[in-house]
């Protein structure tokens, strides 16, 4: 008499636990499972280079349908070779402003990094060396995705890095238009068009070759 209710209770408990797990899993994946870029407004599709003419002289209207991280224009998507690099403006650590569209006639290396990212910090001296070589037609921009600008300032306080090429991406505004699964994430942009995306850290020689190759094919 006593065992039967116990068995029924046990079965009920198992079913209840399984149901709870399933419900929680569904809630996690659907409700809370929004990607960082999900909240951004969708206006138009991101144009690709096939719709424009990369060899034309750069003007502000060169890519009229260009995604813009500042205004929320365009659909954030993982960038591939051939996509137009989304527009953004970034306040650098020295107070100057970096605007993507102002470098549409150059080779630009966008490096997404954070102070807590070991591989990012390790490759930074190599990239800084590359930047210090003042290669004509080449610009590098470090975009920090740290939790706060003070973290970046503290990090840079005891380093002799060029603060005019390091900026802090407040609220992951730019990062959402340059989505990546991990950092360091480096995007090579030639004449406003993405040429290559690099996931993970690389050596000085690899980056140098990447830049030289981009400049020669410009």
């Amino acid at each position: 008499m006593k065992k039967k209710p116990m068995k029924v209770m046990k079965r009920k408990l198992t079913v209840l636990l399984a149901a709870l797990t399933l419900v929680a899993a569904v809630v996690l994946v659907s409700g809370c499972g929004k990607d960082p870029g999900d909240d951004l407004p969708i206006v138009t599709a991101t144009p690709t280079v096939s719709g424009g003419d990369p060899s034309a002289a750069p003007t502000p209207d060169r890519f009229p349908n260009r995604a813009n991280a500042d205004t929320g224009k365009g659909t954030p998507k993982e960038l591939e070779a051939g996509d137009v690099a989304p527009e953004f403006s970034l306040t650098m650590m020295d107070g100057s402003t970096f605007r993507m569209s102002e470098h549409d006639d150059e080779v630009v290396l966008l490096n997404f990094w954070a102070t807590w990212c070991g591989p990012c910090v390790n490759e930074m001296p190599d990239l800084m060396q590359l930047a210090s070589e003042n290669i004509p037609g080449f610009t590098i921009c470090f975009i920090s995705i740290d939790d706060s600008v003070s973290d970046v300032k503290d990090f840079l306080s005891n380093k002799s890095y060029n603060n005019s090429i390091i900026g802090y991406d407040k609220g992951a505004r730019i990062c959402s238009y340059y989505p990546t699964g991990g950092i360091p994430y480096t995007v090579t942009v030639v004449n406003g068009v993405v040429k290559e995306t690099v996931l993970g850290s690389r050596s000085y020689d690899k980056y140098k070759a990447l830049v030289t190759n981009a400049l020669s094919g410009k």
């Binding site: 636990l17 399984a18 996690l28 939790d147």
Partner: protein, 382 residues
């Protein structure tokens, strides 16, 4: 020390323990379901495995109780150990209130019950141990080796992140990271595969060694290497839920210790993962799962213990002496209970305060910010 489990299973074989009685089987079946459900719940971003991408939702700011790499394509929450190391790397800029508060509260409420019931890597180790092979039984040597996890905790989880600014355990040791993140991500992602080198080879080799060890030795990683288990072990004596021993019923026969496959000296010590295998072995039924009272030692709510207490009280009134409970006088038991209760209350207050300060200071976003991106160190390409 080495035995063959084909015909004559040894007393510390989990399989035999589960066979002990219907009650024991039921407990272990519930435990297995809970472990499976925890593993599924932690890793329910199923599309991530197919796409080779990690989940990047806001829930990644929440830590799972058990060890589960947040770079696993299926993981929907953060690994507490990975988050702790990440927070320590950044501790120069911000104190890791949130993760410390989380660990403190999880430890206080559940202790190493988490290891026994809520750790996917613990489940994996137990399943590996079911494979037929010679088995290494617990001994003085394994007991000594079990202190290795505290060395790893101090060196790889605390010292290296603080001084070398790298998540030492994730980078050089964590087999969960290699298994759950490194192998699936490098398999699916060519760009990541190209980055693999010596470190990745080292981590794969270490994973292989640990897998072999787990086949031979019950929960080898958990017992000898896991720093998360080491953290939770500090809370075992005061954890609010788990196994409890009614000292009024305990005869100190050590049947529970002999039955336990872990390197325990007594139930609920720092090696006890509160799996409940011992419950069935106790001849007097002194061990139960439950919410503990302040002492965690004396069960005050079971009819059996009440009967024993009443009997002892009667004997006191007859002899005029204070009754002994588990070799301790009633006064000592009361004093211990008060101390443990005070510690538990202090830890609860500290945990809530740390969590609140951490949330206010934006630590949640900090944990999420790291967890939504692939940890290269976890993969072994950092």
């Amino acid at each position: 020390m080495i035995s063959h489990n084909s015909q004559n299973e040894k007393p510390d074989s989990p399989k035999q323990q589960a066979k002990a009685s219907p009650r024991g089987r039921r407990t272990q079946r519930i435990r297995r379901y809970t472990q499976l459900m925890a593993a599924v719940l932690y890793n329910c971003h199923f599309t991530g495995f197919a796409e080779g991408r990690i989940y990047q939702g806001k829930f990644k700011g929440v830590c799972t109780p058990g060890l589960n790499c947040y770079s696993c394509p299926g993981a929907v929450a953060a690994c507490p150990l990975g988050s702790l190391q990440g927070a320590l790397v950044s501790s120069k800029y911000r104190f890791p209130y949130y993760i410390l508060g989380t660990l403190l509260l999880m430890g206080l409420f559940l202790g190493r019950f988490i290891c026994g019931f809520l750790c996917p890597f613990g489940l994996l180790q137990e399943l590996l141990h079911k494979l037929p092979s010679p088995k290494i039984r617990k001994s003085r040597a394994t007991r000594i080796l079990s202190y290795g996890k505290y060395v790893i905790l101090a060196l790889f989880v605390v010292a290296i992140p603080l001084w070398k600014l790298a998540p030492g355990f994730c980078k050089y040791i964590c087999p969960a990271g290699t298994f759950e993140a490194g192998l699936p991500l490098t398999f699916k992602n060519k760009a990541l595969r190209e980055l693999t080198g010596t470190l990745f080879s080292w981590k794969v080799m270490l994973l292989t060694v640990i897998v072999v060890l787990c086949v031979l030795c019950f929960r080898a990683f958990c017992r000898f290497l896991c720093p998360l288990g080491a953290i939770y072990s500090f809370f075992n004596p005061v954890s609010l839920f788990g196994v409890r021993v009614d000292q009024t019923l305990c005869t100190h026969c050590d049947a529970c210790v002999h039955r336990c496959p872990m390197d325990i000296k007594k139930v609920r010590d720092h090696e006890c993962i509160q799996c409940g295998l011992c419950i069935d072995s106790c001849p007097t039924g002194a061990i139960h799962f439950g919410v503990k009272d302040g002492s965690g030692k004396v069960s005050l709510d079971t009819s059996a213990s009440a009967a024993v207490s009443a009997e002892k009280t009667n004997s006191t009134s007859n002899t005029g002496r204070t009754p002994d409970i588990g070799g301790l006088s009633a006064e000592n038991v009361q004093a211990r209970r008060k101390i443990r209760l005070a510690i538990a209350i202090a830890l609860l207050a500290a945990g809530i305060a740390l969590l609140a300060i951490g949330l206010h200071a934006g630590n949640f976003r900090s944990v999420m910010n790291k967890a939504i991106r692939i940890c290269y160190e976890c993969i072994g390409i950092g």
